[in-house]
């Protein structure tokens, strides 16, 4: 959970910076805000980016090597001697032949899309109420919801398996169970993030809507939702990636329709045989999340509220 929180904060920081950058004309040698370019910063950033990318590059390289090679030497030896490395597409071939990755893909999509849309929609409703409506116990309720962030998924599994399983409502193993769980576990952070964003929306805009005769429902759909697109998109990306990469919930609650990640895990034998397939499989499973990220990425820009109020 805390990983996701960090990611949200990073995302928020990123889009406000971008918005700032957009406001100024670029001048060579100067940064967008008019300060001098700092070479230390540039070098540090490049260094950090490289550092963060190294494991993924290693994975990519390893996915094109045979099992024997990966056991015998590190992936970097292949990078340094690219002509003697003995590249192979064998892993990818076996991944597609030896497993139901295609079906897993479909299952993953069926899981991930509702498990992204539902919590965001509900959380947006809740966040609107927490931001713009007055009701008794609002603060206590909000604290309670935020406090739920600290509940680790694992501790909730036992009671949830009972509740959703044959002894309870009996939906364990269906998509519905996974949607519900992802919604439940995603909501606290979603409400928290979206509410924080909504409090930064100009209050007078909502007051103006009130005078213009818009109901809460109309205010939400026509004003607040369009103005919240940056945070909704940011959170959608995070939630989608989280659900897509989830193994635990899918493994436990979706036994009938294994997702890509569950299929991947199935490639790995108990003694570690087939681990060379895992590298290739990982890259295959990454294709869709990457696509999602790059299409939604432009919404990370926070410029949407520009022009609502002065300046």
């Amino acid at each position: 959970m805390s990983d996701r929180m960090d990611a949200v904060m990073v995302a928020e920081g990123a889009h406000s910076e971008k918005a700032q950058r957009r406001q100024y004309k670029r001048t060579p040698g100067l940064m967008a805000d008019g300060r001098r370019r700092s070479w230390t910063a540039i070098v540090t950033m490049v260094l950090l980016s490289v550092l963060w990318t190294v494991p993924t590059v290693g994975l990519l390289v390893a996915s094109f090597r045979t099992r024997d090679d990966t056991v015998a030497s590190g992936w970097w030896t292949a990078v340094f001697n690219p002509f003697e490395a003995g590249w192979t597409l064998d892993n990818y071939e076996r991944v597609f032949q030896g497993s139901d990755l295609g079906e897993g893909f479909v299952n993953s999509v069926v899981v991930a899309i509702p498990a992204t849309v539902i919590p965001i929609l509900f959380a947006a409703f809740a966040a609107y109420a927490f931001t713009f409506m007055n009701f008794r116990g609002k603060d206590v309720l909000f604290i309670l919801i935020v406090a739920l962030l600290v509940v680790p998924i694992q501790v909730a599994f036992q009671p949830l398996l009972n509740l959703l399983g044959p002894r309870g409502v009996g939906i364990s193993g269906d998509y519905l169970a996974v949607w519900l769980l992802h919604t439940g576990f995603g909501m606290p952070l979603a409400i928290y993030t979206i509410r924080n964003y909504m409090t930064t929306l100009p209050r007078t805009v909502i007051e103006s809507a009130k005078i213009d005769g818009a109901s809460h429902f109309q205010t939400f759909w026509r004003l607040i939702l369009p103005m919240s697109v940056p945070v909704l998109a940011a959170f959608a990306i995070l939630q989608f990636l989280w659900v897509w990469n989830d193994l635990l919930i899918a493994k436990l609650f979706l036994s009938k329709n294994p997702t890509v990640i569950v299929e991947l895990q199935g490639l790995l034998g108990a003694q570690g045989q087939g681990k060379e397939l895992l590298t290739a499989g990982a890259f295959v499973s990454m294709v869709l999340p990457m696509l999602v990220f790059f299409t939604l990425q432009r919404y990370f820009v926070r410029g949407l509220t520009a022009g609502a109020v002065k300046g």
């Binding site: 100009p202 007078t204 805009v205 007051e207 103006s208 809507a209 009130k210 005078i211 213009d212 005769g213 818009a214 109309q218 026509r222 004003l223 369009p226 103005m227 410029g303 949407l304 509220t305 520009a306 022009g307 609502a308 109020v309 002065k310 300046g311």
Partner: protein
């Protein structure tokens, strides 16, 4: 079309020790341009927001015409509001912004378009109807906010410092535009500002507020000529009225050796410590032996047609800066000592302790 009546309307924010507005009584005539003015925190915005329905009224009543609107939701009050920061909807075009209220009121699209077009023509916004607010200048945004108010042809306009985000030049121009527009439309308007120049230039009548209480409601000139207390005297007028502390002795007001001429009503009523108010333009320069108040000149602001002279008299109780308006140019120079006096009907006498006006 509509009068507005506040009857002891009170707003007490939850958890506050004192009410923001303890109970305001105010009558605004049909078609009148009423300005609420006062320093920040005086409750003028709260009063306006009570009228708009954005602030709960804890006790008392508010009427528009003879409708009791105290507990009506904002949309049923038939009002429109212009906000300080305009509060435009950023993702809608100018036309959509202006038509939003009509859309909410389920007015057919053709009618809506016609009214938006009319309002846009009045405000010179026709060519911008398809733009988003972020592609407009500050002045244009301000006009869109005005347009949003007038398309609805409401009974009352509420304006909450609509000019304070404009630059000085735009502000002066828009000030006139709004006043003219209001006069043309004849819609009762309540306008909140902290700028007394705006209040004086725009209002049919001006209500001066302080700490949630109405101090005086009068025409701009009425406030200028007969401020009811020290606060109004100091607040209205630029440069400020000279407020000098004096003592009353046997019907005479004395500041050091200087005897201030006062009118008869004040002469009878005053005793003990009083404060004498003289507007900068009410001073006359006299020769030394005529017994005026001596002023040692520290700064002269030449404005061309006239000049403001700032100086101090060195007499206890007088402010550091005595301001004297001198007509013509090059008459007074820095470092000189001039003597000034005034006439009884130009002198405002106040009781120092209560702040009440004693003059006629």
């Amino acid at each position: 079309m509509a009068t507005i009546t506040f009857e002891k309307a009170q707003r007490w924010y939850p958890g506050a020790d004192v009410p923001a507005v303890p109970g305001i009584d105010l009558e605004i005539r049909d078609g009148e341009f009423m300005v609420l003015v006062g320093p920040s925190g005086c409750g003028k915005s709260t009063t306006l927001r009570m009228l708009a329905g954005l602030e709960e009224v804890n006790s008392g009543k508010i009427f528009i015409g003879d409708r009791d609107i105290t507990n009506l939701p904002p949309k049923d009050r038939d009002i429109a509001m212009v906000f300080q920061n305009y509060a435009l909807y950023p993702h809608m075009t100018v036309a959509e912004n202006m038509g939003f209220a009509l859309k909410m009121a389920k007015i057919p699209a053709a009618e809506r378009e016609k009214r938006v077009q009319e309002a846009a023509e009045i405000l010179g916004l026709v060519e911008f109807l398809d733009r988003k607010p972020k592609a407009l200048s500050g002045g244009q945004r301000q006009r869109v906010a005005m347009g949003r108010a007038i398309v609805r042809s409401p009974q009352v306009f509420c304006m909450d410092e609509p000019l304070s985000n404009l630059d000085a030049k735009m502000r002066v121009q828009t000030r006139t535009d709004i006043a003219k527009l209001q006069a043309d439309l004849g819609v009762t308007t309540v306008y909140v500002t902290h700028d007394q120049v705006e209040a004086m230039t725009m209002g049919d009548r001006v209500a001066v507020m302080k700490l949630g209480e109405l101090q005086q409601v009068d025409t701009p000139l009425g406030l200028y000529d007969r401020p009811v207390n020290l606060f109004v005297a100091g607040f209205i007028g630029s440069p400020q009225m000279n407020l000098l502390e004096a003592t009353a002795q046997e019907g005479q007001a004395k500041i050091g050796d200087y005897l201030v001429p006062v009118d008869e009503t004040a002469a009878k009523k005053m005793k003990g410590n009083i404060t004498v108010g003289v507007r900068p333009e009410a001073w006359r320069i006299v020769s030394e032996n005529e017994g005026g108040l001596p002023v040692r000149v520290t700064v002269v602001e030449e404005l061309g047609a006239d000049a403001f002279v700032y100086g101090s008299s060195g007499v206890a109780g007088t402010p550091n800066n005595i301001i004297v308006r001198v007509t013509g140019r090059d008459k007074v120079h820095k470092g000189e000592t001039i003597h000034v006096t005034t006439d009884p009907h130009h002198v405002h006498v106040f009781d120092t302790a209560t702040g009440e006006r004693l003059s006629d």
